[in-house]
């Protein structure tokens, strides 16, 4: 066992943060200008007002049955449907939960081969978009309400003209898509109007992948990595485990090897800016993006391709030798992953190295392109600029924000179809509101190429149409959406019903055998400061900027919320005198962008990171004006060499959870050298609590004893659990100001720690739900018994008893309790209320809350088992966080059942309890992180 010397923020806690930590409720310490008299006055008023909260109109007694009860629907029970939600054009397989026709939750589809029931934060949060009160609800012409009838009339006129001109001067702009139906529709459209142009905006996570594929193979191909087959992975700025459409599939595959004690995968990373892959790596090296091509060339040279490039320093040269040795050792079961944002020639060289080592076709394989391919984006920009575009139609995308280089306003007639009145809608004559994915029939392909079907769960909430419907209208196709999608899948009706029920049909993409050509040498690295661009870890390309769950989800490594920052290294910060939040200007080529600086531990010294997806002006009331927009500064580059960074005379208060709910004690994070390493059992120490007999168990078998084990070695910090918990447990969003006051409500926080030097730290993630201590201090503190212990070991919260003394929170050593300082739920728009899980109480102001181990799921399973007079299945109860976790790091269940995953994990030598010395006997324990003893 090795307790790690950990820190949360570079430079350690300041005097200010230390002082705040001493206070039990730092959020109370900042009441502005409050003297004793004012306080008394406010308290008196509060007392008087408190009485009024009892005066609520009586709940309606109306009971409204169906006229004809639909088969299989009971008002109180949830229904589940397989469907899918798009992400960068890829279908993310989902199992949607609906209560009386109201979608309330999205999980992964357990039967789908690409996700096996797992999900990421984006999928979890997609259900909130359905209920977004800012969704567009009507057709607009020049911003004024119009009707679909008016649009149909206008379209009939245009179609006559297009039929004559063959669609000359008509350009369609779409987002990335893999939908076979949409691809077929576009082909029909082009057949009807041969001169019509169709352009797909690139997927932000794909970077320069297509160019790399063209450079290596002479044609665009879709790359796939198989991390489950790799014993050694060297990732050069390739965030294999990071956010994006492939995160779930790749984390699943990675976790199978990571958890294999006998044959654990080696993961080595070199990257300019910290990523989740770097945090999970055995060793990580911070290298400027401009120098990474040299490292790839050096590795290539060592396997016999080309010569070792000049300009490597000794450490880098030695690193390349070590990496080559590791790759050679596992040749055929190794992977050199070169990131999508590196120059195409460098990526192509990486493909060639994998060819040479025999990895291609095993850990890295290719298929024909899956996403739709359209005309050239640059050609469209030129056409627009030259005034050659008569009609520009943006379909389900936002080119004004996503592709600022497109002079959208130069088209004579501009149409926009989308879910929101966004930047493009504002710059267009016509705006057409579109369905949410949960309202529409559609299809798509999952990242592995499996055809995935989207079925609607609910009638459209507003007067909207589907994207398929709008495209169909352009060709005069008047079939229903279902008929259009159905026609893409020629199969018997029984098979179709099966496919819709399962949510997918057919197999994954078929590999093609190709050999990478040796590309021309990539450009030489430039000196000076470089800027790299990354999609925002929780907002991605900005399309989700109006999703409050994602805005309030802490960025995994930064722990900032409701903002994007300019990531700088500690070295650069010291050189420019920057503190977190100081505004900086990043300038190059006559353009610049301003944003708040943020020190990223592990950032390459001369690299600044700019995050995309923020600075929206027409996202909606949640996303407007959050952060800065790096898009116009980026243009089409992913790395800008030789940028100037200057400190501005302004400070921006960035809300961060970096130091919030900080806990202190020995051995919070523990590390072992291999899977057999022992992590648990500190020397016994004095406890405030009477010792339980060593063999004492609050209940004896076969009664359930609920507990949770979280494997820190498999946790990548992605945050899917936090959003899954939020969606399941009706957890409110509190907003930037409240977060800054330390009032965030997430029941499950993911603590991030670093150890070692700021320039090259090791990073750790630790999800912290309620520990459900067997000797829970909170229970002794509550004067009204609002938090009590259940016989199965669950620390229960009784909201109706809670009077808000907050004593329990001050007694909690793990800081997992959350208090409703304000009425966070009462003022929610009616549409957002429809998302809430009816099985969980919506908490009001003045009430304490915390993780319940998803007591509603425990109760449902317990009652179902009792009703059917059987025992609860070994893994029958699955908490929301566990169901989401793509790497299976969270395990839950009955510790008395030896078949249960958590009970098995408890016996792992790596098992340890956080703050074990307090003697509170937490039911949630951790498995220590495995860090092999290797040179970085």
């Amino acid at each position: 066992m090795t307790p790690v010397d950990i820190w949360r923020a570079p430079g350690g806690p300041t005097a200010e943060t230390l002082e705040a930590l001493e206070l039990e409720f730092p959020m109370l310490a900042r009441l502005p200008g409050m003297n004793r008299r004012t306080l008394l006055r406010v308290m008196g008023a509060s007392l008087a007002m408190a009485g009024l909260t009892g005066c609520k109109p009586e709940r309606s007694k109306d009971a409204v049955p169906y006229v004809t009860q639909p088969e299989g629907i009971t008002a109180s029970e949830a229904q589940y449907y397989a469907t899918a939600v798009p992400f960068d054009g890829w279908a993310q397989p989902a199992l949607a939960t609906a209560h009386v026709g109201r979608p309330t939750r999205l999980d992964g589809n357990p039967e789908h081969p690409a996700s096996r029931g797992k999900s990421d934060a984006f999928l979890q949060a997609a259900v909130l978009d359905l209920y977004d009160p800012d969704r567009s609800q009507a057709v607009l012409t020049d911003g004024a309400p119009a009707s679909w009838a008016a649009f149909d009339t206008a379209l009939a006129g245009w179609r006559t003209a297009w039929a004559r001109s063959g669609g000359a001067g008509v350009r369609l702009v779409l987002g990335p898509t893999t939908s076979p139906t949409l691809i077929a529709q576009l082909a029909r459209l082009r057949a009807a109007y041969p001169k019509l142009g169709v352009v797909h905006l690139p997927a932000v996570g794909d970077g320069l992948r297509e160019a790399a594929s063209v450079a290596a193979f002479g044609k665009p191909l879709q790359g796939h990595v198989a991390l489950d087959r790799a014993r050694t992975v060297v990732a050069i700025d390739d965030d294999l485990l990071g956010p994006g459409p492939r995160q779930v599939a790749q984390m699943l595959a990675w976790a199978t090897r990571r958890g294999d004690a006998a044959d654990r995968q080696h993961l080595y990373v070199a990257e300019p800016t910290p990523t989740l892959t770097g945090a999970a790596a055995d060793t990580r090296r911070a290298v400027a993006a401009g120098r990474l091509p040299l490292l790839v060339e050096a590795i290539a040279a060592h396997v016999g391709i080309g010569a070792v490039p000049p300009g490597l320093d000794t450490a880098e040269a030695a690193w390349a030798v070590r990496m080559t040795a590791a790759l050679r050792r596992d040749a055929g079961a190794a992977l050199l992953a070169v990131g999508p944002y590196l120059p195409p020639a460098t990526q192509a060289l990486g493909f060639a190295v994998n060819d040479r080592l025999g990895n291609s076709g095993r850990t890295l394989w290719w298929s024909e392109p899956i996403a739709a391919r359209g005309d050239d984006l640059d050609a469209l920009a030129a056409d627009l600029a030259a005034g050659r575009v008569d009609v520009a139609v943006a379909l389900g995308c936002n080119p004004v924000y996503d592709a600022p280089a497109l002079p959208w306003a130069r088209a004579r007639l501009r149409l926009h179809a989308g879910s929101h009145v966004d930047e493009t809608a504002r710059a267009s004559r016509w705006h057409l509101p579109l369905h949410h994915a949960l309202e529409a029939w559609s299809d798509g392909r999952a990242v592995d190429g499996t055809a995935t079907l989207t079925q609607p769960l609910v009638d459209p909430l507003y007067d909207t149409r589907s994207l398929h419907g709008v495209v169909a209208a352009l060709t005069g196709d008047t079939r229903s959406d279902r008929a259009i999608v159905r026609a893409s899948w020629p199969m018997p009706d029984a098979a179709w019903r099966r496919a819709v029920h399962d949510g997918f049909t057919g197999g994954a993409a078929v590999p093609v055998a190709v050999v990478a050509k040796l590309p021309a040498a990539p450009p030489a690295p430039a000196a000076g400061i470089e800027a790299v661009f990354r999609p925002d870890p929780t907002i991605w390309d900005g399309a989700r900027a109006n999703n409050a769950w994602l805005q309030e989800l802490p960025k995994p490594l930064l722990k900032t919320v409701w903002d994007n920052v300019v990531g700088v290294s500690a070295v650069l910060a010291a050189k420019l005198g920057l503190a977190n939040g100081d505004m900086v200007r990043v300038a190059a080529g006559g353009r610049h962008v301003d944003g708040p600086a943020w020190v990223l531990p592990g950032q390459a010294a001369a690299t600044v990171t700019l995050f995309l997806g923020h600075g929206r002006t027409a996202a909606g009331q949640v996303g407007n004006g959050v952060g800065y927009d790096a898009g116009p500064f980026r243009g089409s580059a992913w790395t800008l060499a030789d940028v100037a960074v200057t400190k501005l005379d302004a400070v921006h208060a960035v809300a961060t959870m970096q130091m919030q709910q900080a806990i202190d004690g020995p051995g919070i994070i523990r590390v072992v050298k291999d899977a057999r390493g022992k992590a648990g059992e500190n020397a016994p120490q004095d406890s405030l609590y009477p010792a339980l007999a060593a063999d004492a168990k609050p209940n004896s078998p076969p009664e359930p004893r609920w507990g949770m084990v979280i494997d820190l070695d498999k946790c990548t910090g992605c945050g899917a659990c936090t959003v899954a918990c939020q969606s399941e447990n009706n957890i409110p969003v509190v907003g930037r100001d409240q977060v800054a006051r330390g009032r965030v409500m997430h029941w499950l926080r993911v603590d991030r720690y670093h150890s070692g030097p700021v320039a090259a730290p090791r990073s750790f993630f630790q999800p912290v739900p309620c520990m459900h201590c067997e000797q829970a201090p909170c229970e002794t503190g509550c004067p009204v018994h609002a938090t009590v212990h259940g016989p199965d070991g669950v620390n229960e919260m009784v909201y109706n008893r809670c009077i808000g003394t907050r004593t329990c929170s001050s007694y909690c050593p793990y800081k997992v309790r959350r208090f409703n300082w304000l009425d966070y739920t009462g003022g929610a728009p009616a549409s957002v209320e429809a998302q809430r899980n009816p099985d969980v109480t919506v908490r009001a102001r003045g009430v304490m809350e915390k993780c319940t181990y998803c007591i509603q799921r425990i109760r449902t399973a317990t009652v179902a088992a009792a009703r059917d007079d059987r025992a609860i299945g070994a893994d029958e109860v699955v908490t929301a966080c566990q169901s989401a976790c793509p790497s299976g790091a969270i395990k839950f269940g009955d510790l008395n059942d030896p078949r249960n995953v958590a009970a098995v994990a408890r016996k792992d030598p790596r098992n340890y309890a956080m703050l074990e010395h307090l003697g509170v006997r937490p039911r949630t324990t951790y498995l220590a992180r495995i860090v092999p003893d290797e040179e970085a």
Partner: protein, 224 residues
């Protein structure tokens, strides 16, 4: 200097203080009586319903089982309020022109739900499930009263937590064989085809695998 207070002032003060104290006590007593009283809890009230439906007629006189209309009572939290088509499964054949049933026929004709007034309900923060109670032999009449004797439906008990707990702590005196839960006339003495097992109702607790003190009385059983 003249006296500020008359000789009787002290008495008046004492009487006043006593009166205020009495008013407070009586006030609280009245408030408490009102809160706990049946009137406040809608007990024995028959709210106006769209159709003057008689459980007495359908259950006692016609002998229709509860589950014919309340279809999900064995499988779900909600017992299930019957849809119009369930009413019409009989009333398309009998009483087809009754004026009493005009709203039912209109509901089917216009595909518009009947809007009933709920009689028995628990607060939002109580997560009650019918299925488990039925499976464990808690008879319908234990909570809903003798529905088969109600011309118009009313609430029999106030559904207070104490009342729930009485049974959760000591279910033995109330349980029946599961097959008899919907039988309004069942008694241990006249059990019909569903007699109590040997050992009587105490044995039912064991047969249903109930551990009242352990499993049925902690907060999360009903609140979450």
């Amino acid at each position: 200097m003249a006296q500020h207070f008359s000789p009787t002032a002290d008495t008046w003060l004492r009487a006043g203080v006593a009166a205020v104290a009495l008013a407070v006590v009586v006030g609280f007593a009245v408030l408490f009586a009102w809160v706990r009283g049946q009137d406040h809890n809608d007990v024995a009230r028959t709210p106006p319903q769209p159709v003057a439906f008689s459980h007495k007629h359908h259950v006692a006189q016609l002998g229709i089982d509860c589950r014919y209309c309340h279809t999900s009572v064995e499988t779900a939290a909600d017992a299930g309020l019957p849809g119009t088509h369930i009413c019409m499964s009989c009333h398309s054949q009998v009483w087809t022109n009754s004026t009493l049933l005009a709203p039912v026929r209109a509901s089917l004709a216009h595909d518009r739900s009947l809007v009933w007034q709920r009689v028995a309900r628990v607060p939002d923060y109580v997560y009650f499930r019918h299925d488990i109670h039925v499976a464990k032999g808690v008879p319908c009449s234990e909570c809903h009263g003798r529905i088969d004797r109600m011309q118009l439906t009313y609430r029999k008990v106030a559904f207070e937590m104490q009342w729930c707990l009485d049974c959760h702590r000591n279910p033995a005196t109330r349980l029946r064989p599961a097959a008899a839960v919907t039988d309004p006339d069942w008694t241990p003495a006249t059990p019909g085809p569903n007699p109590l097992p040997a050992g009587g109702r105490k044995a039912m607790v064991a047969a249903y695998h109930l551990k009242p003190e352990r499993d049925l009385t902690h907060c999360a059983v009903c609140h979450r």
